[in-house]
């Protein structure tokens, strides 16, 4: 509280900040430093499976030997092998495409929710959240049952005579896109809905009064004003999608190679921890770009609003 300048009060406040800060620095930031270090190491058949190891007892000499043994060969491998380049581009492409689809599909849904009566809104938010919290793995698994050649979708289409033979959706890019859109829909809809629900309804009404059709009012008034919510939602989807593992693994074929799967297989199958770390660093670099861009856009939006 503001008027509590006692030393005990100050200590209390420092603790309130310090405890979570300490935990997160230790278990969130420090690990990244470790990843960076390991990405500069070489794989070895040993426990742990990388070299060099810092000899804590060897003092300054130990440090020097340690630093000298680090190298960029993993990054050279990433840059040189088309596999990794393709995986990076594939990840970005899928994340971008899925985010775009989500924006198109999620906006009408968020708008419909924002237009509901206040009582309905609470219920709708709960309805959107509930699948979100049921097992992610299980829901992706359900899509397998629906999309596979003998699955429900093909069965229904065949039965209705719309197709002659089963569509191959599973193990194709389409399957991955459907999976990504499905899994991240709430991440886009909810932030967007939150912004749209707080929009002054008098504004689109004023637009209508001035002669704009409903579509025009939506596109020229509602949408621009909802942009902060939309960009926030898109970022909330894009970033984790770049590293998504489960969906490409279960719904994509062996040729949809994304960075998440690359990291996983390098780590679990090849036991090449240093290379997996390098992939992780690559992923972080790919993410930083959009985040910085987003913040720049937000600052420009805020400045314009002032």
């Amino acid at each position: 509280m503001r008027s509590d300048p006692t030393p005990a009060g100050r200590l209390g406040r420092a603790l309130v900040r310090g405890l979570p800060a300490l935990w997160l620095v230790l278990f969130f930031l420090v690990p990244f430093a470790v990843v960076l270090k390991i990405s500069l190491s070489t794989p070895a058949t040993a426990q742990p499976p990388y070299r060099p190891l810092l000899d804590w007892g060897a003092g300054w000499e130990g440090w020097r030997a340690f630093v000298e043994a680090l190298d960029l060969q993993n990054y050279a491998m990433l840059a040189g092998d088309a596999l990794y380049r393709d995986a990076a581009l594939t990840s970005l492409a899928y994340a971008g495409a899925a985010t775009a689809i989500l924006a198109l599909v999620g906006t009408p849904m968020a708008w419909a929710m924002a237009r509901a009566t206040p009582r309905m809104q609470g219920l709708l938010v709960a309805l959107v959240i509930v699948p979100f919290w049921t097992s992610f793995l299980i829901r992706v698994y359900a899509w397998i049952a629906i999309l596979k050649p003998e699955g429900l979708l093909n069965m229904a289409l065949l039965r209705l005579g719309l197709i002659g033979e089963p569509l191959a959706i599973l193990d194709t890019p389409a399957g991955v896109l459907i999976g990504l859109t499905y899994a991240y829909l709430p991440f886009l809809v909810l932030p967007l809905y939150a912004v749209m629900a707080r929009l002054d309804p008098a504004l689109p009404e004023a637009a209508a009064d001035l002669g704009a059709s409903r579509a025009r009012a939506f596109l020229t008034v509602t949408l621009p004003l909802s942009l902060p919510g939309l960009t926030a939602g898109m970022l909330l989807c894009f970033i984790p999608m770049v590293g998504e593992f489960i969906i490409p693994d279960l719904l994509g074929g062996s040729d949809t190679l994304m960075l998440g799967r690359v990291l996983w297989s390098e780590f679990f199958s090849n036991r090449d921890w240093p290379l997996a770390s390098a992939v992780a660093v690559l992923m972080l670099v790919l993410i930083v770009g959009p985040v910085v861009l987003f913040r720049g856009v937000r600052e420009r939006q805020d400045a314009a609003a002032r």
């Binding site: 849904m109 829901r139 698994y141 809809v189 593992f245």
Partner: protein
């Protein structure tokens, strides 16, 4: 609501719930195949209950979820208090980023980095390592939930308590805490569910004897569609739905009392 809006909403909800309903339906399918409906049967639930390995992994998941949710709730609440109460303190932007970043980071990156840390410091991997990992990324979610409630809390109540002679700690324990308690519970449930659901991070940081339910399910899914999994999924869905409804009922209650 206009018909267009109604259609958009209907399609969206159908899209969200379709797969889940499919699972639930087929968990009662006597036939093993998805293509054939063999009649109503609960035999897969029987198979499920006899599957010791699966049940063991479920217990592991529950233990881990309880512990990590507790830690996450403490961390997230402290962080929310700091952000709401401490004004513009030095390093506020960095602190905010630190709290929120784990929420969006790709899970493979968080999982790998934490595993490397544990190996580096020589921590034995098992239940503890998963608990630490889950608490770390769930804390941000708790901070958001509790933070939203703190924002809506009327400061005048705490000032009145101080005016009536209560020092800061007493104001917190008798006024602030009771009034934000529902959001703490909601945050706990959220962290609990996130932990229960996590596959990727657990795969990286777990050790022998610490197989979680999603890990077990994943290894089975890779082998093919298994009706027993439908039953497990339905139970999971039912359980989580109950938890989520409890959470939203609790936060609704919180809004009404203040």
């Amino acid at each position: 609501m206009s018909p267009l809006n109604r259609i958009a909403l209907g399609l969206g909800l159908a899209f969200l719930y379709g797969p889940i309903l499919v699972l639930v339906a087929y968990s009662f399918n006597a036939s093993r195949l998805v293509t054939v409906w063999g009649g109503f049967s609960t035999r897969w639930y029987g198979v499920l209950l006899a599957d010791d390995a699966l049940i063991a992994s479920a217990l592991v998941s529950l233990k881990v979820a309880s512990a990590s949710a507790a830690v996450a709730t403490v961390l997230g609440t402290l962080a929310a208090l700091a952000l709401d109460r401490h004004g513009r303190f030095a390093g506020r932007a960095a602190f905010t980023g630190l709290v929120l970043a784990p929420m969006v980071m790709p899970e493979v990156v968080t999982g790998l980095s934490l595993l490397l840390l544990f190996v580096g410091i020589g921590l034995e991997r098992g239940l503890a390592s998963i608990v630490i990992a889950h608490a770390t990324f769930a804390a941000g979610f708790v901070a958001v939930v509790v933070g939203a409630r703190l924002k809506g809390l009327d400061r005048a109540l705490e000032e009145a308590a101080a005016d009536l002679g209560a020092p800061s700690w007493r104001v917190f324990s008798t006024i602030t805490l009771p009034l934000i308690a529902p959001s703490l519970a909601a945050g706990f449930l959220l962290a609990f569910t996130l932990s229960l659901d996590d596959l990727v991070i657990a795969s990286f940081v777990s050790g022998p004897g610490a197989t979680t339910l999603p890990m077990r399910l994943y290894s089975q899914v890779r082998l093919g569609v298994n009706p027993e999994i439908n039953a497990a999924s339905t139970l999971l869905v039912a359980g989580v739905t109950a938890l989520v409804l409890a959470a939203s009922w609790l936060t609704g209650r919180g809004d009404r009392t203040a």
